[in-house]
Subunit: 397 residues, 2 copies
């Protein structure tokens, strides 16, 4: 390696050194993404308020406040807080009309909750490929695919190969990077597909100034412990439709609706997906500093982008021109010729106390979803071998 | 009313005065059951520890510790903490083998989650009557009923009227009062019924020195905000079977099982029912003072029993000889001739800031469960009109 060459060759040690150099001051274990409340005194103050007053459970002012803050930040007219992102997605799919034996189109490259949520509705995941530029559903290839397999019925689009209704498309914003939403909206419009957005990873991510999760009929957010902000657990359902919002609240809170407040009457089979006030309190505190968090995360991304710029054979993913990303988890992408080194690299980095991880095993490679319908998935299969997530906690700045 | 009569006639004002007299020192609003951490500094300390360290989410030492404390207290070899009691019951039924189109026997007088959990498994609730002495499933009448409707198949008992498998019996310990477990065990044995115990309300309740929730193949607990102890939300699955315990943990934590810790591989369609560490911390603090809590609740029950002893037409429920009850919610039972006054009494008590409530509307009276099979339910129908729960928070002592 010459200091004059302008480039450095790919190598495990080089990647480790460059990652470390991007995170000055962190000599020990660097987790992938963890909460840190040391800069946020409101976290303890709000949580303490819950304990002091005894309002820790499923009713309480922080739940309402958290919903208001989410609605305001995302620009979604309504936000319904629930116990986690998986529960949010399950209910959103149900409210979008997903039923037994339907198919739900979704990227093959996603966290397993996306596919599981369809299964909870007794629907069948139908996997589509992603675009290497966005890491999300490839609108153009989806359109071509639907031209082949979809036909319209009185009940919406149907997969003519299986005879099953195509009940929804669930775009997922991978590691916080937004899909090309305008292009996907065109496809949904053209094929009369209902869109439900899995924005579990993209709180703080905008597509052309519109927040992710607000393009579909419904969208969902997650506040799991590894996310941009966390309530411990936590999730939310977003929708512009007041009736859907009301139903979402109703069916996630056991559908209790007696004439008197004290009456235990329930009118539909519903869920106990309530977010405890204790967790909502933490969410409120986190929302107050979300702008700072996103700023820090974007700065870390920029550091990685700069630091890795001269290493051959790897790229740090950079947001698309239409995107303002939260850079939830930074993405180190290996060129195809280095794909075979991925696991060695991950192991070496973990041994070097950089707790990196690969992207998920694609859904069609998991035993319970292996028989699901799918289009050709060349980009998914290629990227699944080549993505490593780098430590991205905002406090690493 | 004569002071020499030894009895006082039934009257709304008398009930209100007697309730107030049982709770000296509480002049304002008296909620039904609320947490109060003022006597439990560990609540603040453990929760603060989560926030200080950032360990608020689905991994963390308090989750393990909470599970250990629950196992130790209940005598259950295994306890798996989950996000709430409803989630626990859903998974327990699945693990007990409840499948599409099965029937699940359960009391008609229960909180709606019992019936909903069967529905999540696509099974059909089948309602049975309760015993006025225990407020739980009447073992003798259940036995007689099963003699009529059940026949044995290679796949277990079948309802010969519907042809559906009778997959489980779910006894529920109403307001913390235990069912007659030995009698129910005999019925289950005789008819080869699997028992899954809904002990959502009965942490701290023992039947002949054995903790409720430990008699069935699986049992569940709830730590919702209104319960004897709370984590904000929270629930647990109890079982003596190590394989079931391992599966319960696996399927409530997304079934993640890659070869390396960093691998995102999952082997079955599973759930995200993880209890956040933040909530488990509160649970640990509450478990430490559970003995005191139960003592206080039993003392409050004794006060009500004494105070109402001389009022005609009402009874405070007292535990059965085989029981050591947590007296989760105290029960004021109106004699049948006063049933028509129940709602007036509840309204008047709520206006007098005593936030009492009636028992649940029985499951067969709710629209979504109205068509379910059921036996004759005379006791359920009678008691549903006559039960009022009195304020029972331990800090009312």
């Amino acid at each position: 390696m010459s200091e004059h060459s302008g480039t450095r060759p790919f190598g495990i040690e080089t990647v480790i050194e460059t990652t470390r150099a991007s995170l000055p001051g962190y000599t020990g274990v660097v987790p992938l993404h963890t909460p840190d409340y040391s800069a946020n005194p409101a976290a303890w103050s709000y949580v303490k308020q819950c304990i002091d007053t005894g309002w820790v459970s499923s009713a309480g002012a922080f739940v309402d406040r958290f919903e208001q803050m989410l609605a305001e930040y995302t620009g979604s007219p309504h936000a319904v807080a629930v116990v986690n992102g998986t529960a949010a997605l399950h209910v959103a799919l149900e409210l979008a009309g997903v039923r037994d034996g339907d198919e739900v189109l979704m990227p093959a490259l996603t966290f397993v909750a996306t596919a599981n949520a369809a299964r909870y509705c007794r629907a069948i995941p139908h996997f589509v490929d992603i675009d290497e530029r966005t890491l999300g559903v490839d609108a153009e290839r989806l359109g071509d695919y639907l031209k082949q397999i979809a036909e319209q019925s009185g009940d919406g689009p149907v997969n003519r190969q299986t005879g099953r209704r195509l009940a929804a498309l669930v775009p997922m914003h991978t590691f916080g990077q937004p899909c090309d939403m305008e292009a996907l909206a065109v496809v949904c419009e053209r094929f009369r597909l209902t869109m439900v957005e899995d924005a579990a990873e993209s709180l703080g991510t905008f597509y052309k100034k519109q927040h992710t999760g607000t393009f579909g009929k419904l969208g969902i957010l997650s506040f799991n412990g590894n996310k941009t902000i966390t309530c411990g657990g936590g999730g939310a359902i977003l929708t512009a439709d007041p009736d859907l919002a009301q139903t979402a609240k109703h069916v996630t809170t056991t559908a209790k609706c007696g004439k008197a407040a004290w009456e235990y009457y329930h009118d539909v089979t519903a869920y106990n997906h309530r977010l405890p006030n204790l967790n909502a309190a933490l969410g409120c505190a986190e929302m107050e500093r979300l702008d700072q968090v996103i700023q820090a995360k974007r700065a870390i991304a920029e550091r990685y982008i700069q630091a890795f710029a001269d290493i051959e054979g790897v790229t740090i993913y950079r947001e698309q021109p239409f995107a303002r990303s939260n850079y939830w988890l930074n993405i180190l992408m290996l060129d195809p010729e280095h794909a075979g080194r991925r696991d060695d690299l991950i192991n070496a980095m973990n041994e070097a106390k950089l707790l990196v991880r690969p992207v998920w095993n694609p859904m069609h490679t998991l035993p319970m979803h292996a028989d699901c319908p799918r289009m050709e998935l060349p980009i998914t299969e290629s990227l699944a071998q080549r993505i490593i997530n780098l430590p991205s906690s905002p406090h690493l700045l």
